[in-house]
């Protein structure tokens, strides 16, 4: 997608940002695309610094918390009252969340 940056990390091109913006349903102007591409590349480059560490002898970490199998029993607990739930919604109708027209895809 983009030319690797000198540090060996993949910088973020303008097209990548446009693609991500579309996935995130964000309408960005041309100026914003240019500006964010530069800023996001700088962020990625900063994070890529960790790539310099020698980790040949370090086992991969899979989670920040060294735990497995944190579960709960299959027991029903009370749900929220519906009026409380729907009061958080921008719009509600017929006891449901009302959302704008869904375009483009059919589920």
């Amino acid at each position: 997608m983009s030319t690797p940056s000198p540090q060996g990390t993949a910088g973020l091109g303008r097209d990548d940002v446009a693609h991500l913006a579309r996935l995130a349903r964000l309408a960005l102007t041309d100026e914003e695309l240019d500006s964010f591409a530069g800023q996001l590349s700088a962020v990625l480059d900063a994070v890529a610094e960790v790539g310099k560490a020698d980790v040949a002898d370090v086992p991969p970490m899979t989670h920040a918390v060294p735990l497995t199998n944190v579960t709960r029993p299959d027991v029903v607990t009370p749900s929220l009252p519906r009026d409380v739930v729907l009061s958080q919604a921008p719009a509600a109708e017929d006891d449901r969340f009302r959302v704008p027209q869904i375009l483009g895809e059919e589920e």
Partner: protein, 499 residues
């Protein structure tokens, strides 16, 4: 726009199909996957939600232990390898039915991998390889308003019910199934049917396709016979009955053959199946398919099923459908074809329960595949939906065997049972349906038949024994079918001979 289709038998002379299936099973746990909300089907909208399944900020998911166990049991029943360690992942996309902006799913570390399921079609066994079985959560339900017939196209807005959001969902993915040829649609259907029966036998889900607790996506591709490469596949969604699975594959094969015949290429795309017409139509194409940006779910710790626990789950698996069928076939002394009829009629469990209630296997089979199948067919319902229990069928069989009722009366008893008048013995009493003994009433009916038909009596006496049938018929009419025909015949013979 309607598609051009090639005749099914004709396309098979040139093309070979490959099918694959992705099946979603909603687990029957009492609570949701990551929170304690109830999972009751048909509850009032948005009454089974909480901060976790609504994706409210600051909420944290906790895995339902029973959902892990159920998924492993499904994996074990399919002969899968169970991961010793795996993680959940976020599948990121925006859609109104997914409140968090991502679905918690599994990506490159599914709980179960590399299994298989053998299915039988027309006496031939096909091995379906299972690629993976993983655990995820279901989405909410959209209701489209303002368009025609609840369709998304033309809708002005949509309404969302999150009761279903967060219910544990198991996805079972097959590897591509080549080599089924003309039987590809039936193999696909048989696979889903067998999978459904397995999940049901495990008690992991109620697997009701009409309620959406078992849902199917069907992949189909065609390649010229002898081709080394498989064709481009389409993924058909919204396939919500066993019959639809078969129809969807058949339709896609016919449609794709026409595309290939015309020298065009099949587009890799998602298509939607339409129950009413049996056709498919394009959904979103893969070119614009969402980039899901999977990454490990940081709010959940890894799942590492203990080896001993998995072994205990394996040891506790119930008898699976294939083994049960083989056992019952042997116990009941049926041929393979007879067994297939029984299974296809949806009568296996009913016959088994009827036999358990004391009926002979042949008798139980006769009732369910005969009279009861006819009634179900007339009413347009499944056998299991008839208002008669296996115990009642067994009792009816006993009443016939001990001569309390004859076959004709038994059908009237069944009328009463189906009408909710109680058990067979109660119906016999209430409707007065028992076969008449050699009672005064029956003697009177016999005498009346003889007196009223002197010409017939004369014929019988002249040696035309077959004429006796008319007299038997007359008695049966008088007694409204409640007499035992053999008894009537004997009584008539005695009197004709003695007169």
């Amino acid at each position: 726009m309607s598609d051009t289709l090639v005749e099914y038998h004709e396309l098979l002379t040139r093309y070979e199909p490959v099918v694959g299936l992705e099946t979603h099973v909603e687990l029957g746990t009492a609570s949701k996957m990551f929170c304690g909300c109830a999972t009751t089907f048909g509850a009032e909208p948005n009454t089974q939600t909480c901060p976790v399944c609504l994706g409210l900020p600051g909420s944290l998911p906790v895995v339902n232990a029973e959902a892990i166990a159920a998924t492993i049991r499904i994996g074990l029943a399919l002969g899968c390898r169970i991961a010793s360690w795996c993680r959940f992942a976020r599948k990121n996309y925006f859609y109104p039915d997914i409140p968090k902006g991502f679905q918690t799913s599994q990506y490159d570390e599914p709980l179960c991998t590399a299994g298989h399921l053998d299915v039988e079609v027309d006496g031939e066994t096909y091995r379906v390889e299972i690629e993976r079985v993983h655990l995820e959560e279901d989405t909410g339900k959209n209701l489209h308003v303002g368009g025609s017939t609840g369709r998304i196209h033309g809708a002005s807005h949509s309404l969302v019910d999150f009761n279903r959001a967060g219910i544990p969902l198991v996805e079972i993915v097959t590897r591509p199934i080549p080599g089924a040829g003309a039987r590809a649609p039936e193999v696909a259907r048989a696979y889903v049917a067998e999978l459904r029966d397995i999940v049901q036998s495990l008690g992991a889900s109620d697997v009701r396709m009409e309620q959406g607790s078992l849902r199917c996506d069907v992949n189909t591709s065609l390649a010229p016979i002898g081709s080394l490469e498989w064709g481009t596949r389409t993924e058909t969604k919204n396939v919500n009955s066993l019959r639809s699975v078969e129809r969807a594959v058949r339709y896609e094969m016919r449609r794709q053959a026409a595309v290939l015949d015309a020298g065009s290429r099949v587009r890799q795309e998602t298509r939607h199946f339409h129950e009413d017409t049996g056709s498919t139509s394009p959904g979103r194409s893969k070119e614009e398919a969402t980039d899901y940006r999977y990454f490990p779910e940081p709010d959940l710790v890894p799942v590492a099923p203990d080896e001993e626990w998995v072994a205990a789950l394996a040891a506790a698996l119930p008898e699976l459908p294939a083994a049960r069928r083989a056992r019952l076939q042997q116990e009941w002394g049926l041929s393979g074809t007879e067994m297939t009829w029984l299974v296809n009629a949806g009568a296996l469990g009913l016959v088994e329960a009827t036999v358990a209630a004391g009926a002979g296997p042949a008798d139980a089979r006769k009732w369910w595949l005969g009279e009861l199948a006819r009634r179900a067919n007339d009413a347009g319902v499944e056998l299991t939906a008839l208002a008669v229990t296996p115990a009642q069928v067994a009792e009816l069989g006993r009443l016939v065997a001990d001569g309390t009722v004859n076959d004709k009366l038994a059908r009237q008893v069944l009328d009463g049972v189906l009408a909710g008048e109680g058990d067979p013995a109660q119906v016999v009493r209430a409707r007065g349906l028992a076969v008449m003994g050699e009672s005064d009433e029956l003697v009177a009916a016999v005498e009346e038949a003889l007196a009223g038909n002197p010409d017939v009596v004369a014929k019988v006496q002249a040696g035309k024994v077959a004429a006796l049938g008319a007299l038997v018929g007359a008695v049966m009419r008088t007694t409204r079918g409640k007499a035992d025909a053999a008894t009537v015949k004997r009584m008539l013979e005695e009197r004709v001979a003695g007169s």
